[in-house]
Symmetry: C2
Subunit: 505 residues, 2 copies
Amino acid sequence: MSNLIHLNEKDNVAMASVSLEKGTKIKTHDLVCNTVIPAGHKVAIYDIPKEDPIYKYGDIIGYALEHIKKGDHVHSHNLYLKKASCEHSCESPHDHFPLKTKSERSFFKGYIRPGGKIGTRNYIGILSTVNCSASICHFIADGANKAFKEKYPSIDGFVGLGHGAGCCMTIGGEGLTILQKTMAGFIRNPNFGGILVVGLGCEVNRISDFFNAMSLNEGSLLKTLDIQDSGGTENTVIKAMTLIQEMIPPVAAAKREPVSAANLILGLECGGSDAYSGITANPSLGAAADLLVQDGGTVILSETPEIYGAEHLLIRRAVNCRVADKLIEKIKWWEAYTEKNGAQINNNPTPGNKDGGISTILEKSLGAVAKGGNTPLQEVYSYAEPVLSKGMVFMDTPGYDIVSITGMIAGGANMIGFTSGRGTVVGFKPVPCLKLASNTHMYDRMKGDMDINCGPVLDAGVSVKDMGLSIYKTILETASGSKSKSEIFGYGDHEFVPWHIGAVL
Amino acid sequence: MSNLIHLNEKDNVAMASVSLEKGTKIKTHDLVCNTVIPAGHKVAIYDIPKEDPIYKYGDIIGYALEHIKKGDHVHSHNLYLKKASCEHSCESPHDHFPLKTKSERSFFKGYIRPGGKIGTRNYIGILSTVNCSASICHFIADGANKAFKEKYPSIDGFVGLGHGAGCCMTIGGEGLTILQKTMAGFIRNPNFGGILVVGLGCEVNRISDFFNAMSLNEGSLLKTLDIQDSGGTENTVIKAMTLIQEMIPPVAAAKREPVSAANLILGLECGGSDAYSGITANPSLGAAADLLVQDGGTVILSETPEIYGAEHLLIRRAVNCRVADKLIEKIKWWEAYTEKNGAQINNNPTPGNKDGGISTILEKSLGAVAKGGNTPLQEVYSYAEPVLSKGMVFMDTPGYDIVSITGMIAGGANMIGFTSGRGTVVGFKPVPCLKLASNTHMYDRMKGDMDINCGPVLDAGVSVKDMGLSIYKTILETASGSKSKSEIFGYGDHEFVPWHIGAVL
Ligand SMILES: [Ca+2]
Ligand SMILES: [Ca+2]
Ligand SMILES: [Ca+2]
Ligand SMILES: [Ca+2]
Ligand SMILES: [Ca+2]
């Protein structure tokens, strides 16, 4: 077992998994440490000539300020960033992830929905237009779970989706549009077999206006109810139960069938990150993401604040300049948004990050971006926008886990992969969310909540590639119906949180 | 039964409850209609000399443009507004609501809390710091309700308080401060016998930072738990159950005792207003509010956007210029807030309002302000700020019902009065919320949800004063433990919605 972690075959540095004394011999890389290498810091595994790029995560994190010898400590003292403009090349150097042929691709067992989208779960949703109808949506879901869930085991459950917004918003404003796009995206997510939308009646986000704005039409699997029209709580619940009973037979008849992994849309998230997230869980999830992309599937990277200031590392990977320009536009929007709201957006390495061995903003952002793997950036989406491209795409979301994941599910994600260093417990009905621990210590303490331990990359010499393979296997199993930890606990009734933008009047 | 509604003894106009033909004789006011008076429109009940003020709701809604004769239609054609500056007098003309002596005051049966605050309910709350701990708070509440509610009937229940915020907010920003103030206000609301705060551990709104910022201290009735420290969901729920079991004996031992109505803090709200709200439910609730103020109690008027542009009608009622200035400051804040967010704030009568008989912005705002009664404005509070003054006070909140009421409960409200024309169904644990219908038609359709019908002011000749008396009686009964309609349904688990301000990062 090596004391070095080599994150990518392209890398000319590796990371010390423990503090290494000067003179330590590392057999796996045939080198001797020329100075102390603190834990988490980088050591050169080849000679790096002055001005040459330094690769970590298979990507450039900076350039050699001087000639760096094999075994040297690589950090702020001998590494520098070139001006960002040099990095905006709009080239796509990542053609070493060939798509597999259809016959080589992995399979999972999913629900084929009318129109061809593939669900990994089979829920019926009860969606509120406004907080005024949130409680009644939960009443209806609770009632339906009691009445029908045991009787129809092929239905995963009935989920009430409430939220805090929907009224006293500006008509035509960005806030209402984002709410409506998120709601429409949930309605269209293939993990729902059917949806009942419940409104109060006098809210700004009225059902009729919402349906018109989002080109939604009622049908046998998309029904609506207004509380005021229905005559209050009791009548609304009675009517809702009738509508749901009518929906149940076709939803319960849905059966899992083998489908290509190309139908997976995997949303990526990290939250409660620690010093290990960027070297264990994130690159391992990235290795799994690369396998999914090679299988013809889609992975969604998100959390714009985490790439802020290092956007060129994604721009460099964009398949064309149109995609690159879309990302630049998002970055500009964030600058205006944070300034308008008196908020700070600063993704530079903190003194704590630097002590931990993070040298540049590129390296820090790469730690987060690592979960997207190394394939080209195919498309850039707005929050909650339908994701139609295959391959690795970016969605503009906040870093706030719950809000970010809500947006990706609205975009069509049917699986979520969520890395954490500190631990997280949430779940996201109707979409299963696999939790990846960055370290064994936390995994051992929170085994009930974390699905996969990526700590062995650090403490047991497991390669990132092998860890990625094992994650990908779990993704396929979970997509096929095996339950994630948060599903076993029953999480997901309170994590529908559309991004809140704009004034509450 | 009269076809005119005379809202206040001081008024020189009355409203037609049905359309009145020219020549209609109104015996109750000894007048003959000089023209058609459409339903909802105003008729002069005395001669009004040119330039004289026109009173509705006991307040000035404009001035006579010409000499108006008894029986004339009073509307935009013969009524005008003076420049607002003339109205800013900082006088307090309302000294005709003498405080009752202690022995004359009404009583209710409440819970006397340590420190002397009086609760109208006896709940135990489980409060989340961040959305990441919202689900677990509901798990804990559900578990405690199942395990303990039947066994301890003196406890009204265990309520999980989740919300969408708490992370990826700017430290030191207005958004985080408002969230923390709202949470601290709920912790201090006397309707809670005990509170358990549950955090994730790595959120911006960490328990320790929140407690420091809001000067909160743990104690036998205020406990805390971190999910990450506790080792995940299962351990957190187990620990939570132990902490709650320790809280139960003192909370269950609380007993209702007769206390003065002076201990009531009544939060006022209107939502889904219609053409009748301003002439039936709002002034009737206002009459009840005046009775409570005379009994030494507190009423909170809120919803700043509803007085915007007509703020001088409240400024005129301010007890001193300091209070008036505070209100002016809030109005200025709203102008900046809406401009920054590209939102419109416009409270002018719409064409539909004018067709319905509303002549000026003052009259429109008075329709909303009417629920605050006619006593002087004693103090102006920020959102969620502790309300310490007696009498009628104003809290700066949005008009959004749920957010406004959340703020008033945080301020200490132990009763809510909520008027509606279109109907509303929500509830607000831990505080009972009485729903007042503005019209009999809606009341009949939504009887299960609406507590009181104020329609008889319009359709059965009941005076506003008598309706106010009956509302006040119901307030005292409900404060003493009789259940409101929304409590019977079990509403209140999804209506904790702190005002959301600022960027989500
Ligand atoms: Ca993150
Ligand atoms: Ca995140
Ligand atoms: Ca209102
Ligand atoms: Ca309102
Ligand atoms: Ca909720």
